[in-house]
Symmetry: C2
Subunit: 208 residues, 2 copies
Amino acid sequence: MKLQVALDTLTLQDCIALLEETKGSVDIAEVGTPFVIEEGMVPVKEFKKRFPDIEVLADVKIMDAGKYEADKCFDAGADIVTVLGVSHDETIKGVVESAANHHKKVMVDMIAVENLEKRTKEIDQMGVDYICVHTAFDVQSLGQDPLDDLKTVNRVIQNAKSAVAGGVKLQTVDAIVQEGCEIVVVGGAICNAKDRSAYAKEIKEHLK
Amino acid sequence: MKLQVALDTLTLQDCIALLEETKGSVDIAEVGTPFVIEEGMVPVKEFKKRFPDIEVLADVKIMDAGKYEADKCFDAGADIVTVLGVSHDETIKGVVESAANHHKKVMVDMIAVENLEKRTKEIDQMGVDYICVHTAFDVQSLGQDPLDDLKTVNRVIQNAKSAVAGGVKLQTVDAIVQEGCEIVVVGGAICNAKDRSAYAKEIKEHLK
C-alpha cells in the first residue's frame, strides 16, 4: 500500500521540509486544494523538481472542463490529478483522456457522492486509476469515517483500485489495512505530529 | 442586471487588457477555475489592484473545508467566492460564515446538482447571496442550456438572488433577461469576440 501525505495547511517551505523529513516513508505528495487555491501549480513544479522519486498528486477536484484543467496539471508535472465523482461523466472522461495522453493517472474523489455503490460502478467503467472514498473535513467532526465507504467501493470495483482519505491516523489505519486498498491518504495526523518523521514512518510500517 | 465576465483561457496580461477594453460594461471579473489552478490567487490580487471599481469573483468551486478555503480567497481580495451546490451543507455554511466575517459574498454553483428544485430550496435557507445555474462546459455540446434551470431556481428562491452561466451569448441573452436574474455570466463569447469591447458593450445594453 502507498502512503500519500496531504499537504493542506503548511507553507511551501514547510512542505519541502516535511517531505525531506519523511523521505522513505511517503510515496505520494498531495498538493492539497487550499494550497492550489493559494499558489496554483507552483508547489507541483517545486515538488517534482526537488523530489523526483515521489509521485505528486494535484488535488484540484476537477468539476468541469475535465480535459482542459487536467492538461494544465499534467503539463505542470503532476503524476496524478483528482476529479470529483459528483461531476458529469463527460468531465471524468475528459480527465481520463488527458491522463492517457500524458501517460499519467486519474483519481476520482467520491466526496459527497449520494449513491456510492451506483456511482462507483459507473465510474469503474470509465478507465480511471483510483476511486477514493473521502470523508469531507467539514463532516469529520460529526463522527463520520471512511471505512464503511471503503468496504462498499472494494465490493464493487473491477477495474480501478481503491484509495481512502479523511481523518486517517495511527488509531484508525489498521482497520483500513485489514479491509485493503491501494493508497492511504494521511493529512493532519502527519503534518501536525510532534515528530513528523517518526509518525510517517510508523504509519508506513502499518501499510506493509 | 450585472455582467460577469468569466476569464478562463487567457493569460494574466491578456485578461488585464480585456478588462481595460471592456471598462464600463463589465461589473464582475471572474477569475475562472483553470486560472486559479494555474496561478492561485495572483489574478485576484492583480485585478483588485488594477480595477478597484470592478468586483472580483474567485471561481474556486469549493467542495470541502468551506471556511478555510473561503478565508484564503477573501483575504486575497475576492469580493465573491463560489462553493458547489453538490457539497455538504456544512461546507456551504462555512463559506457563508467566512463571507459574513469579511463582509463579502457567496455564490453557489449548481453545476451537476441532480434535484435542482429540492437543493435550491435547501441552499436558499443558508444565507448565500447568489444561486447560479450553470450548464457545464463539458455538456454544452450535448445541447444543454441553462434557461430551464434558471426558471426552476427563480420559481423557488425567496432569499438568494439568481445568476446564470454556461455558454451565454448575444443570441441567448434576451431569453435570460426576459426570465430575469441578478448576474449574467459570459465567458467565451466575450473573450473570443473579434471586438471584445463592442461585444461586451452590446451584451451589457441587453441587460439594462
